[in-house]
Symmetry: C2
Subunit: 535 residues, 2 copies
């Protein structure tokens, strides 16, 4: 069964020291181009072949094996299939037993009908086209505080030039606003020099991986299951993913004993573990860490000399009254740890929260506890890409400094925000209940984030059928679900899971009025699937 | 003298096979953290030290040596100095012998006062805040064709959701528009499936380097001088820069004999040269390639099995009547070469041209002549970062499909465009003449792009003074220029140059009315410098 753990765990410790060799055996299962000719002969051989495509200089066996090895399930095979089905539906309605494809594979709220926060979009539009700020018609179209905010932001941008490259870390004034927002959130000082604005959180994660990983001997502790950006970026940068398993039976709890065990095991294999990734609220698991637990994690990183990479992009997405988001920066400062004690990077994004502005590609990382020399290196890496997009930078400042009580937009902003968050809580509960009503399915609560990660007990017959189809059993299930219902979810094997268990990730993002139909379609499909494959 | 060639040429072939070793000797000159302790002991030693910063886990000798080795001169030391001077000026006016810092280090037109193209910004604002499209006030504020275009674009975006992640390559409809623009430009078919929209051209270049470079044995032919994005990304991805020298005495001409010579030399050292970078119009050199020359380049790549990486981001920036931009795609198609003959990637950006929208981070690459397997890998790399920002995508579509004769905005658009381009031509000529009037300075014409790259004959006494200050002579000159005048230019050593020659890169972007003052300041400084160091 172990072979189906697949996906992200292919980079497990024991194999990772032999990247080149590993790559060849891996790609041989993928590629029809691979020859058994020795490396040095391959290019000249391929240029001697006479099919048109083989005269091209680039082949799978001559490109970067890390790229070939990299996997990214949330946009993988199943999404390609979904796109094909969508094209078929467009070409011929009625060609499938559903009217539309429902993309529950990725946290992309506005693609499923969520409306943007009006105030944010007003400010962005005004900053894009500032010459209308002085016109009288503008006051009829835009709120007074959006006009005022746009002026403030323009004054923070040198020459009011929203079309110019900014400082490599992002416009100083916008970073000041963000730092003030972090201070207001945490109750501890934040410094705009610690902020690096990025095109969403993903490039920030890549930057840290590129910095920390020298070779396959460098390990990064990652939760399993995890958002596959981490496994993908570790693979792309040639490092080793050191897995720690979240405890599904304890609501996807994070146990320090598990961290210790995996760290020791990695060390015993010669892996130098550099950093710990924590995703809080969890993706794909939805748990929100308790304060006590966070303190233990900080202590662990401090003691073991690990960089704490804190993915906090779902900080606004908490749905249960007994849990609250606390940033790791706040936790560490509350323990008395400062700049000299803990290397901590917190990732934030405009793509998540109640706003869900994925297409704007805004985000930042707050980098604390690194020496000046290392910060210079991070700055240099940011410089090579010049800067992140200014609209995304502006939006990141707005997210960390939304309208306040008394502002003209406050009420409408607040209503939009609460409407989205309370609806997300309702949707999360409805889908969780629906999953738990299915035969052989158990699903932890989504305390936060945007996902449920139900576990499916698949019948042996289904597992055999999957093997015959050369698919992981959960991928087999998800493909059948898509073909039958148009619902796109991602197999657990894309995130990692305890060997022999099967899951899928489903976003809670379809609009509320669509949930009942989704539940019906899911339920019908599942019954049929289980009936077909019941042992 | 050879040691001053510095910068990008540190990755020259003969050294690159010993990256790890090389890094240590390199970083030892930079870093006060480096110990001579063997690798495996170093981390435990540093954790035993008791200064606060040394208890932090990340040190210069434990991070990715490729990051340490990477250099990016256009935002390097000289810009850091400029930022400090600017802060000092703000804190105390009159603290320096100039009123403002003039950033001529980077092609960032709007930072120096260039105004955005109105039509483009109208459409962006409307797409950011589409609910105003139906309001009557909007017609008073926006041109009719910008409203119409915004509707068209929204209809191209699934669910009109400008806040959703798009397809990993970018929104299909926008790619269709871009493909149509390429067809109109070249007179040959273009396919939207070949377009990958990116956050500016830089991430696209990184993506191709990451794809093509497996190890230090993989070489990329780059012009010298070159835009240091290429040297930086080759270093970051662990490859080898194989230099070919442009001929300064022939207007920075590109000689095929030089390409052949360098390719053979690299091969003889065991380097597998994978690709040829051509920047046309040239950066930092400003030359525009002749059609004949381009055909020779295509033939060379075809014959030698090289991927042609064509940096065509300055395609709109041509200032001389006897030269015209031709894309390499058009050239290769006109020679009868199609998908099966030549692997060609063309990079385009919204940051350059007449629009200069650097802050929007929009761009694309057109990828042709790769097998389906390789395209899948490129798609996967794009997927890991989800998508580029949608405003940048929209702007890329506008740049490739601006207003046409008969559209309401055509006249104003056309006037703005011509105003900028003709002024750039005037500025280029004025600065070129000014440089050529300086003692010991010769400067080729900027036929295109945004830069001049004058050569300075520095007196021996200046070279000695630079050596004493541990600076490359051209860096020494540029730092003195900055300190005396507030003008920021980039030393030639950041771009590469023939050993023993010295240059700097200066953008042609200051507004026309500032040029006379700049010329005066430059001239006065240069006279003083030469008088001080005359042999």
């Amino acid at each position: 069964m172990r072979k189906f753990v697949g996906g992200i765990l292919t980079s497990l410790i024991s194999r990772s020291f032999q990247l080149q060799k590993h790559h060849r055996s891996l790609s041989s299962s993928h590629s029809r181009f691979l020859s058994s000719t020795p490396l040095l002969l391959r290019r000249s051989v391929s240029s001697m072949a006479d099919s048109p495509s083989s005269s091209l200089p680039v082949t799978l066996d001559t490109i970067n094996p890390k790229v070939v090895k990299c996997e990214y399930a949330v946009r993988g095979e199943i999404v390609t299939l979904a796109q094909r089905l969508q094209e078929e539906l467009q070409a011929k309605s009625g060609s499938h037993p559903f009217d539309e494809i429902l993309y529950c594979n990725i946290g992309n709220p506005q693609s499923l009908g969520q409306q943007p926060i009006t105030f944010f979009r007003e400010v962005l539009a005004l900053c894009d086209h500032p010459i209308i700020l002085d016109k009288s018609e503008t006051q009829g179209l835009f709120s007074a505080d959006s006009i005022e905010r746009a002026w403030q932001i323009l004054d923070q941008i040198p020459g009011r030039a929203t079309g110019a490259y900014s400082h490599s870390q992002g416009t100083k004034g916008l970073r000041d606003t963000i730092a003030a927002g972090i201070e207001a959130r945490d109750g501890y000082p934040a410094n705009s020099n610690d902020i690096f604005l990025t095109d969403g959180a993903s490039p920030a994660v890549h930057m840290m991986m590129q910095l920390l990983i020298c070779s396959g001997k460098d390990g990064i502790l990652c939760p399993i299951p995890q958002y596959p950006l981490y496994s993908a970026s570790i693979t792309l940068h040639g490092g080793t993913l050191v897995p720690y398993y979240l405890d599904e039976s304890a609501g996807w709890g994070l146990e320090i004993s598990e961290l210790k065990k995996q760290l020791e095991e990695a060390k015993s294999k010669g892996v130098d573990v550099r950093a710990l990734v924590v995703i809080n609220p969890g993706n794909p698991t939805g748990q929100v860490l308790a304060e006590d637990n966070q303190r233990q994690i900080v202590e662990f990183c401090k003691k073991e000399g690990l960089v704490l990479l804190a993915d906090e992009v779902y900080q606004e997405n908490v749905y249960v009254p007994d849990k609250k988001f606390h940033s790791f920066k706040k936790i560490s400062r509350s323990m008395g740890y400062g700049e000299s004690d803990l290397s901590l990077v917190s990732f934030q994004s405009v793509s998540k929260g109640y706003h869900g502005e994925c297409g704007k590609r805004g985000g930042y990382m707050e980098v604390t506890g690194f020496t000046a020399d290392i910060r210079e290196q991070i700055y240099k890496m940011a410089s090579v890409n010049l800067c992140s997009n200014i609209s995304g930078q502006i939006l990141a400042s707005l997210v960390m400094s939304p309208p306040k009580v008394g502002d003209e937009s406050y009420e409408s902003y607040s209503a939009e925000r609460e409407g989205i968050l309370s609806s997300l809580a309702i949707r999360a509960k409805a889908l969780e209940d629906a999953f738990n009503n299915l035969e052989g399915v158990t699903c932890n609560k989504a305390e936060g984030a945007m996902y449920l990660f139900p576990r499916i007990e698949l019948p042996q017959k289904a597992i055999k059928a999957a093997e015959a189809a050369n698919k992981a059993p959960d991928a087999f299930y998800c493909i059948q679900l898509l073909n039958a219902t148009g619902i796109v979810v991602v197999p657990g094997s894309g995130f990692g899971q305890v060997p022999g268990t099967w899951h899928f990730r489903c976003t809670i993002l379809p609009q509320e009025d669509k949930i009942p139909a989704i539940v019906n379609r899911l339920t019908d499909f599942h019954k049929g699937f289980m009936d077909t494959y019941r042992n």
